[in-house]
Amino acid sequence: MARRVSRRHKWTTTILAWSVAMLIFFPVLWTVQTSFKTEAQAIADPSRFFDAAWTLENYVTVQQRSDYFRHFWNSVVLSVGSTAAGLIMAVPAAWAMAFVPGRRTKSLLLWMLSTRMMPAVGALVPVYLIVRDVGLLDTRLGLVLVLMLGNLPIIIWMLYTYFREVPSEILEAARMDGASLIAEVRTVLLPMALPGLASTCLLNIILTWNEAFWTLNLTAVNAAPLTAFIASYSSPEGLFYAKLSAASTMAIAPILVLGWISQKQLVRGLTFGAVK
């Protein structure tokens, strides 16, 4: 039976939800708004929120000073590349854990996930030295590998959860029907786990796009993605607030658009299997 909700309760929760949403969204709104101000207006005290003169000058300057599209392309290569490489590694691992689990599968999964809890800076020196010694410093390949390995536990965990929702009888039926292991995964398992697979990809792309520790420490020029592009406008004196905001807006815009377009898929994937 559905719970009855009073009108007052409905209004209160709606206002509360909007307040929290606006609080979370405010920094983004502030950044976008500041990107259209002049540098003088951006640092004015008190800050002028609504009556500032709107200008596109910052965007033009940012594009003239630094090559946005090169950074953008690097971000695309890193996020898509690390996601694709991660899937190639994670699909067999998640399959094995979901369908031929051992006694320590659960412990292994938890251990893998726990590595994400370690601060990345703790592994900075060894990772930096390894990447440098194999000649992958400031290369896309080096970053793809590092980012892929960083997110691999999450990809495996998510795929494992989705694979477990696929009835094993269906895979057995495919085996009886003559499907090889690869055909079984390709023609039956992956299409059935498609919502989960899509949300795993989206989440990994978003995580990689926003990653700002390894991308700043292992790149300089050639493989620098949009996070490095933003960082290049930061200044301790705070003199380039407007330009920094313009760079930030340009960096986050693609992922915001992607998130907006795919929000339905993301929510569907993240709640996949929660309700039968």
Partner: protein
Amino acid sequence: MGQVTLDKVRKNFGAAEIIPPLDLRVENGEFLVLVGPSGCGKSTLLRLIAGLEEVTSGRIYIDGQDVTDFPPARRRLAMVFQSYALYPHMTARENIAFPLRMAGLDRDEQNRRVEQAAQVLNLADCLDRRPAQLSGGQRQRVAIGRAIVREPAAFLFDEPLSNLDAALRVGMRLELAELHARLKTTMIYVTHDQTEAMTLADRIVVLRAGRIEQIGSPQELYRTPQNLFVAAFIGSPSINLIGGDAARQYSAHTIGIRPEHVAVATGHGIWRGVVTVAEHLGSDTVLHVHDTGVADAVTARVSGDVPVRSGDTVYLTPNGDCIHRFDEEGCRIPPPRNPSRLPEHSKDVCDT
């Protein structure tokens, strides 16, 4: 061809022995049903034959070829699962064609075989629908179609009708029997429903704890159960098992008498009791009679709709021709050489 032979096949899960060494031979074209209570190992046995589980020891032969180490696809078997196991992202046509696609058949041949199977199974109108858009019966037919197109040496059915409602189950049972008559392919069928077993099987294998209790035709199992377990398992309503003095009269530890072999009268009979439940089924009436002094309850089935109600007193008389006798171990006692040693109304205890 489709002769399946199990030679001392054993299956352990860890330390637990699920199937002790078991020998079984399924003849070409035979409809063999494996029955038994839940957990008796019948589905495990089927999965061993299919190759979905590895045997702990023993060998499996199909048409004389040792397939013990073959993967499922190379055993030339097709299996229909309890949950249908259809591929939800494919249409009925794609589901049926899947094994042909995996075998690398060209598209024309795939279509020809799919159309042929669809015609046999009355599926022509729903070939382009996905499983979610099909009824339970149609899904089951698609699963059977997927098995048929492979033209296997034998079909394996793992409780294929248990997800259907009662009316549909009866219809599908008939269709399966017709299919077997038409294809004449070996079928090994697992069920816990003894009505399915009795109506479909050429031979029934009754399993308990992985052991074969008895193998025989439905009539053999019904008429000459070799032990108490088979006697109690086969037949619905269940056989009446009576011990004590009533059994000793027949020189047995326990006697069994099927409900339809108990005559019911209101005037006189051997056992007097009170009807607690009367099930009026239309064609038959099943009476559950208490306070008879020989068993907690005696069940009797009489033909037609008899005007007996709960609380009525009735007299029951077992048909002496059809009493089954069992010893202390629960094993069947062969018919006596000298029937005169038995009570007057059971001189010719039947064994057939």
